[in-house]
């Protein structure tokens, strides 16, 4: 498929796809005239890339993780495994902090609701 379709299928912009390639996250075969062609596999790959981007990983990091996805274990493994575990832990910590933030928001919301209840039941300001 060509770049436009890949974009439609993944929700990424054409610009972003070219950028991913420029960063070495994505490869394409070129037609004689220079147009990029992709296989079905690239859909999943782009989806995964987007997921990592959404998780806040910079492309520097993603590019070091992707080899593990491509070849589910070659020579690179040792350092790569450590890398992935480190990122996983970072992510876990980040998730925990976000959860705390959400709880703080919930607390504020609860406070607000209580206040509104009191108002509605006729208390004075």
């Amino acid at each position: 498929m060509r770049i436009g379709e890949l974009a439609k299928r993944t929700g990424a912009s054409v610009r972003s796809l070219r950028y991913y390639e420029e960063q070495g996250l994505l490869t394409s075969t070129r037609s004689a005239s220079g147009q990029r062609h992709y296989t079905e596999d690239e859909v999943d790959r782009v989806t995964f890339i987007q997921r990592l981007y959404a998780a806040g990983l910079p492309s520097r990091t993603i590019i070091e993780l992707l080899p593990c996805v491509d070849a589910p274990s070659e020579g690179n493994s040792d350092a790569a495994m450590e890398h992935m575990e480190r990122e996983r832990d970072r992510l876990t910590g980040h998730i925990a902090e976000l959860a705390r933030t959400r709880d703080a928001l919930d607390g504020l919301i609860a406070t607000g609701r209580t206040y509104q209840e009191r108002l509605r039941s006729g208390a004075s300001v």
Copy 2:
């Protein structure tokens, strides 16, 4: 306390604190000579602001949420409550997606480990 101490206490850079003020997220009293002074309360406030920033909320959004923190319910409540709930939900969704990403990483790690086991036990490549 002056800005340097607030920075030390919160871990935010002096530059960031001034930026927060510029964005209307933080206020300070000024000494005759123009230096910013803060109370103990600002420590918590900055911490909360940092938390929201870390959660990916842009200052536009934070600025609309903070009134709820300041006055745990005034006239603003109705729209503000909705706003907070929307942000809470957005955050919840985001957390879920991050969890999925982490699980995907875990899967890759598990695959890698299995492979290494096999290698170590003497299987051929």
